[in-house]
């Protein structure tokens, strides 16, 4: 290293520091913009999430075991779906009773009711069109799929303009990492400057929703120079329905996955999806993410690294189109999502797909060992057993 190098390095660092200061200033003046999420996996997931097939199979016993679960019809008022519930307090009891077919009468193909409390429920694409046609703030109902990523998210401050103190209409109130599917098969996009959850006081969670919304909100004047944007935004007043048996993940439920993984690996300790769950890397798709329960200072030993549930087998196939289901699929090189090494060894993380579930399993680096193969086989069998109730 010469003196010239030192001098150049010093100038480079100073120039970069200046660039960073500029970035700081620019972010204050113009917070990060919205963007449609470009990842194909995400689009595929939402497309898939909206395609709940006609025949939905679920075990009444398992449904009943989920806290807050009711299998009410579309006009019975708000219900808590397993897409939104916490872990069952007890493992489900396997039953030999075949899972009943659920009536899809009065439902859109993805399971969202066409009416609620006697009022029509329009799809999200129609709601978006209302932004242009609505003359006043009359409320209406719209059904969509929300994806609320778990974890902690950064919402950029948006108070650069003192005359527009409430531009959180545009940036916040759901932050910028909330997504609403436009419709079955539609593209998922961040809803910045399109819809706001700012006035909704409840908890946002991933899953189907019927939302009571309006546009032309008189409070749009709070947005200052951006009033025109706020005026056209869809303001979510309430979420009146959040899924039921028809829209629950199937054929494997959260409880099924918990039971099966515990059966084959006592230390797996997966937690049911919930807002407090942090991503554990098993997020190849954006469904209901189940991560292991970690204990401070305790080594995690289970091969089960995490799991993701989607509403249906078809949804999973769309989300991971290149991945074959079952053990054979998990053994393919393309099933390795990533590898991780450390002083204690290394692993491949393989994606094992069984119906509507993807479980990420730690296996030996490179060629899976016999014990890896045996574990994958046992896991598939355990999941299938849950599915059939045997």
């Amino acid at each position: 290293m010469t003196d010239g190098d030192d001098r150049t390095e010093s100038r480079i660092r100073a120039a970069f520091l200046e660039e960073r200061r500029r970035a700081e200033t620019d972010l204050r003046l113009e917070p990060l913009p919205a963007r449609a999420r470009p990842r194909s996996r995400f689009l595929a997931r939402l497309a898939a999430a909206a395609v709940i097939v006609v025949v939905v199979v679920a075990t009444a016993g398992v449904i009943g075991s989920l806290p807050g679960r009711t299998s009410t019809g579309p006009s019975d008022g708000p219900t808590a779906s397993s897409m939104r519930t916490t872990a069952p307090s007890v493992a489900p009891t396997p039953t030999a009773v075949p899972r009943p077919t659920i009536d899809m009468t009065g439902r859109y193909p993805d399971g969202i009711p066409t009416t609620f409390d006697g009022q029509p429920v329009i799809r999200w694409d129609a709601a978006l069109a209302m932004r242009d046609t609505a003359k006043d703030a009359t409320q209406f109902l719209t059904g969509a799929w929300l994806t609320i990523p778990v974890g902690v998210f950064m919402c950029p401050a948006s108070h650069a303009d003192p005359s527009a103190p409430s531009t959180t209409w545009i940036d916040n109130g759901g932050c910028q990492f909330n997504y609403v599917s436009v419709d079955a098969g539609g593209q998922l996009a961040i809803q910045r400057a399109v819809t706001t959850f700012r006035f909704y006081k409840g908890t946002l969670t991933t899953g189907p929703a019927i939302m009571r919304v309006h546009t032309r909100d008189p409070r749009a004047t709070q947005c200052g120079y951006q009033k025109a944007i706020c005026d056209k935004m869809i303001v979510v007043d309430d979420i009146v329905w959040s899924g039921d048996a028809v829209t629950d993940p199937h054929p494997l439920s959260v409880a099924d996955v918990l039971a099966a993984t515990t059966q084959v690996s006592q230390t797996s300790g997966l937690r049911a999806p919930g807002p407090a769950v942090f991503g554990c890397g098993a997020d190849a798709i954006d469904g209901l993410i189940m991560c292991p329960q970690m204990e401070p200072g305790v080594q995690y030993t289970s091969p089960v690294a995490g799991a993701v549930l989607l509403p249906s087998t078809e949804a999973m196939a769309r989300a991971l189109p290149t991945l074959e289901p079952g053990v054979d699929g998990a053994l393919m090189p393309s099933a390795v999502s990533r590898s991780q090494g450390g002083s204690f060894g290394g692993w491949d993380y393989r994606q094992l797909v069984v119906d509507n579930v993807m479980i990420e399993v730690r296996t030996s680096v490179g060629r899976p060992s016999e014990s890896d193969l045996a574990f994958l086989t046992r896991l598939v069998a355990a999941l299938k057993a849950q599915e059939t109730g045997s």
Binding site: I12, A14, D26, R35, V150, V152, G279, A305
Partner: protein, 177 residues
């Protein structure tokens, strides 16, 4: 992967992160890195819209994978490693990363860059993508050579080579002979 690395201290760290500290800490910590991420993204992509998009992608991935961060003090290297990887994916996807022609979109940042900033902006696009990434990570992000190597999944010697090439090119631009 949150705590999946079977190192006790690492597992404890990630679990502590996830449980014992208020969630808002992460949000604030991430927010505190936004400006350096934007500056870095601009240096990597030289296109304002893409740069901002890259920052969002980076923050989003970081938010979802915060459990993988074993050492909270290593937040910046971790974020920048994510960003560089995503930048290269960007390049593969849209071939903008290596758009080196003079027609690159002018950045719209605050006015009044000094001569070194102008020189830096002129020189960076002429560097090969990996050398550019190494320079950005090392001189802007403050990552050590070893950290840059890990972030880019290359050897330390290769990293040093990239930095040397970058330094030489920038010295020319700075006329720092």
């Amino acid at each position: 992967m949150s705590g999946l690395e079977p190192v006790q201290s690492a597992a404890a760290t990630s679990a502590d992160l996830a449980r014992d500290k208020p969630a808002v800490d992460f949000g604030a910590a991430l927010e505190g890195q936004t400006s350096i991420l934007l500056a870095s993204a601009r240096a990597l992509l030289r296109n304002e819209a893409d740069a901002r998009d890259l920052v969002q992608i980076t923050l989003e991935i970081a938010s979802r994978r915060i459990g993988e961060l074993r050492d909270p003090l290593a937040l910046r290297p971790w974020l920048m490693a994510i960003q560089v990887r995503e930048a290269f994916r960007f390049r593969r996807r849209i071939e903008r990363f290596v758009r080196l022609s003079p027609a690159v979109e002018e950045l719209q940042s605050s006015p009044g860059p000094d001569s070194d900033v102008i020189a830096l902006r002129a020189a960076l696009p002429t560097l090969p993508p990996r050398a550019r990434a190494a320079v950005v990570l090392h001189y802007l992000g403050g990552l050590s050579v070893a950290e840059v190597a890990r972030a880019m999944n290359i050897s330390e010697n290769t990293t040093k080579g990239h930095l040397k090439a970058g330094l030489a090119r920038l010295r020319e631009e700075f006329r720092d002979d």
